[in-house]
């Protein structure tokens, strides 16, 4: 009986974002007849790539009960490192990418240190990192970053693989890798265990510190990759372009059903949330909804998603199965 109930609850939970997606697609078909044209679908797939890369990184942090508000700052910092070091020279790109990755590692490690060593709440720790990185950017560039983005990077933001925009292809590869880590590996089980009950996970021998550090570093590296894609897309250091990135990455994961309290959620849900958000944002622009309308609709969808999370239905996560198996 319990198993049947859990199955029903799980299905309802997974079906909620899926039905939301279907509802938006139907509304889009009715209100914007050319929504399913190839050009518009390409726009949707591009949005999926840009939002999705950071949403995947955010998912890892959410699963261990954290949150990362510094991803967008890491992204902008990456574009500044690229422009400053290369000054548009393709030959200097590999070293610039390594430098950006190094900066991302430092940012992720800093977040982890603040959370683990100083016991700073994740929201505060990552917000502090966000402010710190922004401060470094302002002190370094004084608002006018020098250099320019190498042309060789444009493929990453503007190219296509098998008809798919490169950012979308990158997102899909990352999603498969993330699914393998979370659903198919011991590391995934440790992540869920740490997010559900860090004390129990620690007592059962899981090195929760390493798990948490790894998730924050993964999120920061997703910011670095997003920075590379963004630089390739526009060929310009654009601090303003990342304004909504942190919120969108959190929103996508939450809409899909990843729990803000940690330990519950799957990569598939994040992918679903990313697709839903990308479709929604593209549809609203196609619809001609004003800025206010876009924010109201997006906010309503997020509220609905959170309300469903906190409702009667509880998402069965792999860790429950894992725990039962372990205990038996």
């Amino acid at each position: 009986m319990t198993q049947v109930r859990e199955l029903f609850e799980g299905s309802a939970k997974t079906l909620a974002p899926l039905s939301g997606l279907l509802a938006v697609l139907i509304l889009a078909a009715i209100t914007t007849p050319n929504f399913f044209s190839l050009d518009v679908l390409r726009l949707v797939s591009f949005q999926i790539g840009i939002i999705g890369i950071t949403a995947l990184g955010q998912t890892f942090v959410l699963l261990i009960g954290g949150i990362d508000l510094s991803i967008a700052a890491v992204m902008v910092f990456t574009t500044i490192v690229l422009a400053s070091y290369t000054d548009g020279q393709d030959g200097r790109l590999p070293v610039a990418i390594l430098l950006a990755i190094g900066a991302g590692l430092v940012a992720g490690a800093l977040n982890a240190l603040l959370v683990l060593v100083r016991n700073v709440p994740p929201f505060v720790a990552t917000f502090a990192s966000f402010v710190l990185i922004q401060g470094i950017i302002v002190a370094w560039t004084r608002g006018a970053p020098s250099g320019s983005i190498p042309g060789a990077l444009s493929w990453l933001g503007q190219g296509r693989i098998l008809g798919l925009p490169v950012p979308t292809a990158l997102f899909l590869v990352m999603a498969v890798a993330g699914w393998m880590v979370l659903a198919q590996s011991g590391l995934g089980r440790r992540i869920y265990a740490t997010g559900l009950n860090p004390t129990a996970a620690h007592m059962s021998g899981i090195r929760t510190g390493w798990v948490i550090s790894g998730c924050y570093i993964a999120a920061a590296l997703s910011g670095v990759l997003a920075g590379l894609v963004s630089a390739g897309f526009i060929g310009y250091v654009d601090a303003a372009g990342s304004r909504n990135l942190d919120l969108n990455s959190i929103a996508a994961a939450v809409i899909g059903g990843v729990a803000l309290s940690g330990g519950r959620g799957r990569i598939g849900q994040t992918v679903l949330g990313v697709v839903l958000l990308a479709v929604l944002l593209t549809w609203l622009i196609q619809l001609g909804a004003g800025a206010g309308g876009q924010l109201v609709v997006s906010g309503s969808v997020i509220l609905l998603a959170v309300a469903l999370q906190n409702g009667r239905f509880r998402l069965p996560s792999p860790i429950r199965t894992f725990s039962m198996k372990e205990s038996s």
Binding site: V138, T141, G143, P198, H202, S230, I234
Partner: protein, 401 residues
């Protein structure tokens, strides 16, 4: 040890997240604001009777005439404004401390090249004038600027130049004026601020001129998309409102959509990609910023479509991107070194010299035909047109070689 503290933190997560999300939204909405203005269009001044009105009014109208000529406009009617020369004898004063005037700068902050050039130009001019600078940066945040104005006023400067981030500082500016500090605004604030003079570009002029040029370019007929910066920010909304008034005069001009680009090339490009799919036969794009135009041009080029006639302010990045192309555009400049004019006005007031209550900066406007005169290939993408800075000073700021 770690885990015992994580659980309560997790328990409090929902409430902190709500507060945090709100904070981020506020920061996001402010982070690239260039300068503020009032919602009602009211301007500054503890204004006595309007003196020398004829000459002041003529100077005001000449900015409109000059812009119309530069863009080749047959029609561009100035909006009604009462510009007066004011008697500043009541503000005349010797330096309150030492031999030099102490001038406070409540700045936007170096969040973009406009802010950086604005501040550095102010410092350079202060050095030339032998004035001491007290400085506070708002980092683009209207709330932070409220505190900045109070902090600066508490240091009793002789004058204060404010680059308003929004109307939230009105009461603090009024308090500073009541304290006897000469306040000059580099942007529009409500009259209740009691600022002595306002020195800025006029938003109505920019919005209307762009619209008139587009109408003329389209022979009074066609579909137009409007791209504004940030929703709710007066710099964006005033220009858009002025443009809409112009478009309303032409029944065959259809504004098909208004989108916001956050003054970002990335967002501008994304918006333009949507425009291309939804309005494949768009005739013109009214835009308030070349930051967005850069993305628009990229989107049209990547789609293999002809870029429609467009408008905006001027950045070196955009001018480089369209250099040598057949794209038609009309741009106007929004010089960041108008801060020098603000400082000069403040010093004039302290010396008791007459100044205008509203000093509308008259800086160049141009079309694609004259763009080659303004592009600086030897300079950074971030360079913006400056009124006063020399090439040596631009090189010192690492904007040019």
């Amino acid at each position: 040890m770690f885990t015992s503290k994580l659980s309560p933190a997790r328990g409090a997560l929902r409430s902190t997240l709500a507060i945090g999300a709100a904070s981020i939204l506020v920061l996001a909405s402010c982070s690239t604001e260039r300068e503020g203005a009032s919602a009602d269009g009211a301007t500054t001044g503890s204004e006595p009777a309007c003196q020398n009105a004829e000459q002041a009014q003529a100077q005001y109208k000449s900015a409109w005439t000059g812009t119309a000529e530069a863009m080749g406009l047959e029609t561009l009617e100035p909006v009604d404004e009462e510009v007066c020369e004011i008697d500043t004898s009541e503000w005349a004063a010797e330096p309150s401390q030492g031999d030099s005037y102490r001038i406070a700068l409540a700045a936007q902050g170096p969040i973009n090249s406009w802010g950086m050039i604005s501040e550095e130009a102010f410092r350079m001019e202060a050095e030339r004038q032998g004035a001491e600078v007290l400085y506070a940066s708002a980092n683009g945040d209207a709330t932070e600027q409220v505190n900045n104005v109070q902090q600066l006023a508490s240091q009793s400067p002789d004058a204060m130049v404010v680059v308003p981030m929004g109307e939230g500082i009105t009461a603090q500016v009024a308090a500073a004026t009541a304290q006897g500090i000469v306040v000059v605004c580099s942007g529009i604030l409500p009259e209740s601020s009691n600022a002595v003079s306002t020195v800025t570009r006029q938003y109505d002029l920019l919005g209307a001129a762009y619209a008139e040029w587009l109408v003329q370019e389209l022979d009074g007929k066609g579909s137009v998309a409007m791209l504004s910066g940030l929703a709710g920010v007066p710099t964006a909304e005033y220009q858009a409102a002025a443009a809409k008034k112009v478009f309303e005069k032409y029944p065959d001009i259809k504004v098909v959509t208004q989108e916001y680009t956050q003054w970002s090339p990335t967002v501008g490009k994304t918006v333009a990609r949507n425009l291309i799919t939804k309005f494949p036969n768009l005739d013109g794009i009214w835009s308030d910023a070349a930051y967005a135009d850069l993305g628009v041009v990229q989107a049209y080029r990547e789609a293999g479509k002809k870029v429609p006639p467009m408008t905006g302010d001027s950045t070196n990045a955009f001018l480089k991107a369209v250099d040598g192309s057949d794209i038609k555009f009309a741009l106007s400049t929004f010089p960041p070194d108008q801060s020098i004019d603000c400082l000069r006005t403040a010093l004039q007031i302290l010396k008791g010299e007459p100044v205008l209550n509203k000093v509308y900066i008259d800086s160049p406007s141009f079309t694609h035909e004259k763009a080659s005169e303004y592009v600086r290939k030897d300079c950074s993408d971030d360079l913006m047109y400056t009124l006063h800075l020399t090439d040596e000073e631009l090189a010192e700021l690492e904007l040019c070689k």
